[in-house]
């Protein structure tokens, strides 16, 4: 069993002051599928990058089939037999070339004859494709293939290298169920051929389908290893999310009139439709792993996507915003996740970042900005959110992460809304800023419905009156935030809870 296995001992990696891997010990046996779980920032992708030669480790060692292994480049890792299929499928293929050239890309890159013999290349490519059960015309350009076929090409190309370890980083995130099933069949064949497989995913259905063993990562360390059958999925999720969940005193107010009503909403063709009602004066959190459908739901409400089926009613009228501008006009605001790419305007100062969605409110004749009005709003928001800064004209980039987050949340609290959606409002924020933001969200919630989306359960417990759990793009659980059974909640997040079967 140890044959061909990868052994990792005491692996440490830091970027500047930020230590990402803190002594990782992990065995990846041949002929087994090891699933790696971890929240954002747990260190999964850094671990993968060390294994496939993108980063060097600071300390610790990796043994490949018993021999020390420290690849200096991705090409070297590949030659040593470590093959990685990245989340972004197009990293693995060259769309403009045909399938045959893609399959033989690594041997082409190594050099050889100056001129290419097309017929021999195609014959060789057909062999490689057949070896992974890929039935496809190797003369077709990759650009014309479906995402799933492209991915199989990337894997077939990788398999031509006779790998010892195959790493798949969220490979099903853009595949349909049928496509994913083809991939799983292939993975099982490779496993039976004795390849060690490291499979990174948040999708519980994938994990249940494939995992021989589960490893949970948290804060740069292995937080749990689960290999006794049957696998303890809830235990793995708990290890990944951490157990030190603080009890919070939430005084749940009486909810007001219904604001948002979802009827039979279906987010994906294969997902189960669900109903949901949000009330005034109520803060509802949706918990769920990455890819569970939280952001897809927010996208429907904020005019970024259309649902597959179902109705959305806002204050009793249909709500089908064509774009975010229409959503804002209808009174649905959203503070997007990933502030750096989705919220912060880096060239602007604090004041201008705050006023961005509501410039019309601060402008008068000929659309001229009214500086005094803008300034007054900025001063008020800075005070109520507790933004630590010299003044509203400081560049947004001079603020710490937590204070930047206060600005991008405060931006949407400056005007009255009917529904406020906060997608991961505590992302990359220290504990104090998190408490400030949570308190402010609750204080201001009186005249609107508030929907907070979070991956971390303790964040949901800190801020919400009601906690819903999403998995597989549907709602599978609902809890009033008092005396919650944490074990049941984590089980639902992991997609193994009893509510899975009974909720309509």
């Amino acid at each position: 069993m140890a044959n061909g296995a990868v052994t990792i001992r005491g692996l440490t990696k830091a970027f500047g002051r930020n230590t990402v891997l803190r002594g990782v010990d992990l065995d990846l046996p041949a002929g087994r599928v090891t699933v790696l779980m971890g929240a954002n920032g747990a260190g999964k992708s850094t671990l993968v990058k060390v294994l496939c030669g993108v980063h060097g480790a600071d300390a610790g060692e990796v043994l490949l089939a018993g021999a020390p292994f420290a690849p200096a480049s991705p090409a070297q890792a590949l030659r040593a037999g470590i093959v990685t299929v990245h989340q972004n499928i197009n990293d693995g293929v060259v769309p403009d070339l045909d399938v045959a050239s893609n399959l033989l890309l690594d041997s082409l890159a190594e050099g050889g004859a100056v001129f290419l013999n097309t017929r021999r290349m195609r014959a060789e490519a057909r062999q490689i494709a057949a070896a992974v059960g890929l039935e496809i015309d190797v003369g077709r350009p990759v650009a014309g293939l479906s995402l799933a076929d492209r991915q199989l090409v990337a894997i077939a190309r990788a398999m031509a290298q006779k790998p010892k370890l195959l790493i798949l980083d969220e490979p099903t995130s853009s595949l349909s169920m049928a496509e994913a099933e083809r991939l799983f069949t292939l993975i099982e064949r490779l496993r039976d051929d004795g390849v060690a497989i490291l499979y990174i995913s948040h999708r519980m259905s994938d994990i249940r389908r494939l995992a021989d063993r589960i490893v949970s990562m948290r804060d740069g360390q292995i937080a749990g290893l689960f290999e006794d059958q049957p696998l303890d999925y809830a235990g793995a999720v708990r290890a990944m999310l951490g157990q030190e969940i603080a009890e919070m005193d939430i005084a749940i107010p009486a909810p007001g009139a219904p604001v948002l009503e979802l009827r039979g909403l279906q987010l994906r063709p294969e997902a189960r439709p669900f109903d949901l009602t949000l009330h005034e004066n109520e803060v509802v959190a949706i918990a769920g792993l990455v890819g569970s459908g939280k952001t897809a739901l927010a996208g429907v409400l904020f005019g970024l996507a259309r649902p597959v089926a179902g109705e959305v009613m806002l204050d009793g009228r249909p709500h089908r915003p064509a774009n975010p501008g229409a959503a804002v006009a209808a009174g649905v605001f959203m503070a997007a996740k990933d502030r750096r790419s989705n919220a912060v305007i880096p060239d602007f100062d604090i004041q201008r970042n705050l006023s961005l969605p509501f410039t019309r409110r601060h402008s008068g004749t000929f659309a001229l900005m009214r500086g005094r009005s803008e300034r007054a709003t900025a001063d008020a928001t800075i005070a109520t959110m507790g933004v630590v800064c010299q003044g509203p004209r400081d560049s947004i980039l001079t603020l710490s992460g937590g204070n930047q987050q206060k600005v991008v949340v405060g931006r949407w609290l400056a005007e009255a809304s009917r529904l406020l959606i906060l997608d991961e409002p505590f992302q990359g924020v220290d504990i104090r800023a998190r408490r400030d933001i949570g308190r402010r969200i609750r204080e201001s919630a009186g005249n609107r419905a508030t929907l907070v989306l979070c991956t971390e359960l303790d964040e949901a417990l800190e801020v919400a009156d009601r906690i819903l759990v999403m998995s597989e793009h549907t709602i599978i659980g609902e809890h009033r935030n008092e005396n919650i059974d944490l074990a049941e909640l984590t089980a639902e997040v992991a997609g193994t809870g009893p509510a899975m079967e009974k909720t309509a």
């Binding site: 975010p324 501008g325 804002v328 912060v344 305007i345 060239d347 410039t359």
Partner: protein, 336 residues
């Protein structure tokens, strides 16, 4: 350490203005004729058309775009206004209206190609540039337009440039001295002021800067990013056609060879503008100063008998120095 970095900060903020003031002083001492109203007006007139085009391209730079078609829009407007008046015999008002409409239409097409067609801005506007350079030659079979020219069907063009139209390029208003300031300079000043107010003081300009800095975040703040992108190219097309009209009015004939340098000079002025007041971003004030800077430098050097053929080299050198000011220096203490 602290004082060194604050000196750098001061140098970045005011360096370009100080440099320009120093140039004016040096030229005035070397050639007292440099410091006369006539000389100042000559400088302004030499940069008026370039400056107007540069202000337009600034709008596209603000939304993180680029418009390479401005030079060809200007020369197309030049040819169009000549064709309308000389061949069709129509009046000044129609000529101006058609040119402005043409500029707006080209800008709209550019914007749609970029926004809806998802063609990268440089490629879309480069394609449009070639298209217009070719198109403006087709009606006259590649010839320049002037009264008395022989048309395709063998007849002779009888129309003339309307006096009202020529006034746009040649009339001078009394300012300090009689008949001093040409209308083109007045247009430059007005367009610069309007563009500055639009970009710096209205919510539309504010939103355009937000798009240029982080388009994704702007879209998620509820801003219609595509509409503002298209607007920027329409502004650029219209200002370029104004530049073309003024050029036609100054020349008084539809000359196919004129306006070759307009694109490079205008883009240069807009990029030099990044360095003014340490803005490190496209801005209307900087663009106007950038155009003026080039004009001052060239006029001064010409008065000092620098040969004509060195001008492009000097413009290029100024541009490179300005870009160093903007990116190499301010990047170090700014965003890092």
């Amino acid at each position: 350490m602290k004082s060194a970095s604050s000196f750098t900060a001061l140098a970045i903020r005011y360096g370009f203005l100080v440099l320009m003031a120093a140039l004016i002083v040096v030229f005035s001492i070397a050639k007292p004729a440099f410091m006369t109203p006539q000389s100042a007006v000559f400088i302004l007139q030499s940069v008026a058309i370039t400056g107007i085009l540069a202000l337009g391209v600034t709008a596209t730079l603000v939304v993180d775009g680029f418009d390479l078609s401005i030079g060809s829009v200007a020369t197309s407007a030049l040819m169009l206004s000549a064709y309308v008046q000389v061949v069709w015999g129509l009046g000044a008002f129609v000529a101006v209206a058609l040119c402005l409409a043409m500029g707006a239409a080209v800008g709209l097409i550019n914007g749609l190609l970029i926004v809806k067609g998802r063609i990268p801005d440089l490629l879309a506007t480069l394609g449009m540039m070639f298209l217009l350079i070719g198109l403006q030659r087709i009606p006259t079979e590649g010839n320049s337009i002037s009264t008395g020219m022989v048309l395709k069907d063998g007849s002779t063009a009888t129309g003339t440039f309307s006096p009202n139209f020529l006034m746009l390029g040649r009339y001078r208003i009394d300012f300090v001295l009689p008949d001093l300031v040409p209308l083109s300079v007045v247009f430059l000043v007005i367009i610069a002021a309007l563009m500055w107010v639009f970009l710096e003081r209205t919510r539309h300009g504010r939103v355009m800067y937000a798009i240029g800095s982080n388009a994704q975040a702007a879209a998620l703040a509820g801003i219609n990013v595509n509409r503002y992108r298209i607007l920027a190219y329409v502004i650029s097309g219209v200002t370029a056609s104004i530049g073309g009209i003024l050029l036609a009015a100054r020349l008084g004939r539809g000359d196919v060879g004129s306006g070759n340098n307009l694109l490079l000079d205008a883009v240069g002025a807009a990029l030099i503008g990044y360095a003014v007041l340490g803005a490190a971003r496209p801005n209307a004030f900087g663009t106007a100063i950038g155009a003026l800077f080039v004009g001052v430098l060239l006029q001064g050097l010409t008065m000092l008998n620098a040969p004509y053929y060195t001008q492009d080299f000097i413009k290029g050198a100024v541009l490179v120095v300005a870009l160093v000011f903007t990116f190499a220096l301010s990047g170090r203490i700014g965003r890092g």
